[in-house]
Amino acid sequence: MKQGWFTICENARLARDTFRMVLEGDCSAVGGSGQFVQVSVPGLYLRRPFSVSDRDGDRLVLVYKCVGQGTAALVAMQPGEKLDLVTGLGQGFHVSAAGKRSLLVGGSVGTAPLLLLARELQAAGKAFDVALGFGDIGLAFYVNEFKALGAQVKVATQDGSLGREGLVTDAIRALDGTYDYYYCCGSKPMMRAVCAALPFDGECSMEERMGCGTGICYGCSIPTRSGMRRVCADGPVFRKEELLWEKI
C-alpha cells in the first residue's frame, strides 16, 4: 500500500460513457491483476476505487465508467493534471490457480481488470479464452486487445448489436473449448449467473461501496463461507466456493 501523486498521461473515451486513463507515477506498490487503487477526486471526500486494468513500468491504466459525481469529475480532467492515488490495494486474481485452459468472463466495465490478468496468464504460459457481455456495441471495449493476445473471444450484447444477443452466459456457450477454471468480474447479478452456470472452480472480483479501501472501516463487508469478509482487504477477488450468493 502506497500513497502518491500520479500524472495523467491520457484520458480518452474508450466506449460510450467509458474512459481509459493512463497515469504515471510510483508504481512500486501496484501489484497484480484484480488489485485496485483508490483515487482521490478533487472536491469529493471519499476516494473512489478502480481496478488496475493494465500496467507498463511506471504507468498504470484505469478504465472507468462515468456513473456519478466522482467519475464525471475524472472525465473532465486533462493530461498533465495530477491525481492522489493509494495503490496496491486488495487481494487480486490467483494466476497460479489456473488449470489447463481458463475462462475469463467480463461484464461491462468489469472487463477492465481482465486485460492485465490475461497478460499475466500469458506470461505464466497458461491458456485462456474470453467471454464478454455488454449492453450494446457502443459499450464494448477490449475485444481486439484480448484477440491480440491470441485468445478466442466471444461477445454477447443485450440487443445483439455485437456478437450474440443475450447475456455473458450466452457468450460462454458460444466458446469452443474445455475449461477447468474461470475468472470473473462484472455486476453482482452477472457474477451470480456465471457462478451458477459454470460447474468448475473459479473466482470473482466483488464490488461494494467503499469507505477506506484499506481494510480499516468495515464498510465493504460481505457474508462469505468464512464469515463476514471485507471486499477491499480480504478481496476484492474471492474464490467461488467462498461466496454465499444466496446472502449477497
Partner: protein, 303 residues
C-alpha cells in the same frame, strides 16, 4: 523537534494526544503494514459487543458534502475474540494506550462485555459507546437520555477497575446534562462526539443510499458541532474530555484542545488518508512553534 507532546488521560500517559477513533482504524493492526503504530498516542479499537455481530447490509457507506455517512452497524467478532486475539496481537506492535470501545443493547450486556475487557491486562482504557439503541427503553439510544447514560455508566464502573470514558452522542438537546449525569455516575472521562444522524437519497433510484436508510455522519462537516460540544462540556465537568469529530490536521487538534480536549481522536480522515494520524502527529511540533505553544497541556481549555 524532540518536543514533548505527551498528555495524561485518566492517569494514562499518552506520548501524544492523537488517537485514531473507534471504527475508523479496525483493530489497530491493519495499519501496522503502512506506518509505525508507536507514533500514536493511543488506539481506539473497533466497537465491540458481548457477542459477535455481522453488521448491517451493504451499502454501508455514502458520501456527502462535509464528509460521509456510515451504517456499518457494529460488525465485530465479540469481546472474547477481542480480548483473546485482537488486543494481544496489537500489543506486540504497539506500546501506547489501547482503548477498547464497547457497545451493547442493555445495561447487563455493556457490563458483561466490560467485565471481559477488564480481565485483559493489555487494555488501558474502556470507551463506552452509548449511541446504541436501548432495546428495553423503546429503542432510543442510551446516550440520548441522562438517566440511561448514567445507569449504563454505573453498571460498567462496577464491572471494571479500568478507567472508563463515556463516548457521547451529539444527537441530543442538552449535551451538558448527559455529560454531567455520566460524571456523577462515575465516568472517568468523556469522548465527544460520535456521529450525527444523517441520510442521503440516491435521486436516480429514489432510494436511500444506505441499505439501512439512515447512518452516522462524520468528517470535516461535523467539526464545528464537535468543538462546540467539547467546549460546553469541558467547562461544565471536572473529568477530562477527549475531542472527536472532523479532525483532519494538527491545527484541528489544537482547536479541539483549546476548546477543552485533553486528547483528540481522528476518525474518518483515516479512511481518506491512510497516513492521517502520523501526518498530524508529525505536523504538531511545527504548528505549536508557529503558535507559540510550548506544551500542549498549557492550551487545554484556554479559550
Amino acid at each position: 523537534m524532540g518536543k514533548d507532546l505527551s498528555v495524561r488521560l485518566c492517569g494514562v500517559k499518552l506520548r501524544n494526544p492523537v488517537i485514531p477513533a473507534s471504527g475508523t482504524f479496525g483493530f489497530g493492526l491493519e495499519a501496522a503494514d503502512w506506518f509505525d503504530l508507536d507514533l500514536l498516542g493511543g488506539i481506539s479499537l473497533k466497537g465491540t459487543t458481548l457477542e459477535a455481530r455481522p453488521g448491517n447490509p451493504t451499502p454501508r457507506i455514502a458520501e456527502c458534502a462535509g464528509g460521509m455517512l456510515n451504517s456499518v452497524g457494529l460488525q465485530n467478532p465479540g469481546v472474547d475474540a477481542l480480548v483473546r486475539e485482537k488486543v494481544p496481537a496489537l500489543r506486540k506492535r504497539f506500546s501506547g494506550a489501547i482503548v477498547a470501545n464497547i457497545s451493547g443493547f442493555s445495561e447487563e450486556e455493556y457490563a458483561a462485555a466490560c467485565a471481559a475487557a477488564d480481565r485483559c491486562a493489555d487494555i488501558d482504557l474502556i470507551e463506552l459507546n452509548v449511541s446504541c439503541p436501548n432495546v428495553r427503553h423503546g429503542g432510543m439510544a442510551f446516550g440520548t437520555d441522562p438517566k440511561c447514560a448514567a445507569a449504563v455508566t454505573r453498571a460498567v464502573k462496577e464491572a471494571t477497575r479500568k478507567p472508563v470514558l463515556v463516548k457521547l452522542s451529539p444527537n441530543v438537546t442538552d449535551i451538558v446534562a448527559i455529560a454531567q449525569a455520566c460524571e456523577d455516575a462515575g465516568a472517568d472521562g468523556l469522548v465527544l462526539i460520535n456521529t450525527l444522524l444523517g441520510m442521503r437519497i440516491d435521486i436516480k433510484t429514489r432510494r436511500p443510499v444506505l441499505a439501512n436508510t439512515t447512518g452516522g455522519y462524520s468528517g470535516p462537516g461535523v467539526f464545528p458541532v464537535a468543538v462546540r460540544m467539547v467546549w460546553q462540556v469541558a467547562r461544565a465537568c471536572r473529568i477530562p474530555v477527549v475531542g472527536c469529530g472532523g479532525v483532519r490536521s494538527a491545527e484541528d487538534v489544537i482547536e479541539m484542545m483549546m476548546a477543552g480536549a485533553t486528547a483528540v481522536e481522528v476518525g474518518s480522515e483515516n479512511l481518506r488518508d491512510p497516513q492521517a494520524c502520523p501526518r498530524i502527529v508529525a505536523q504538531l511540533p511545527e504548528v505549536m512553534d508557529r503558535l507559540g505553544i510550548e506544551n500542549l497541556k498549557d492550551i487545554i481549555g484556554i479559550v
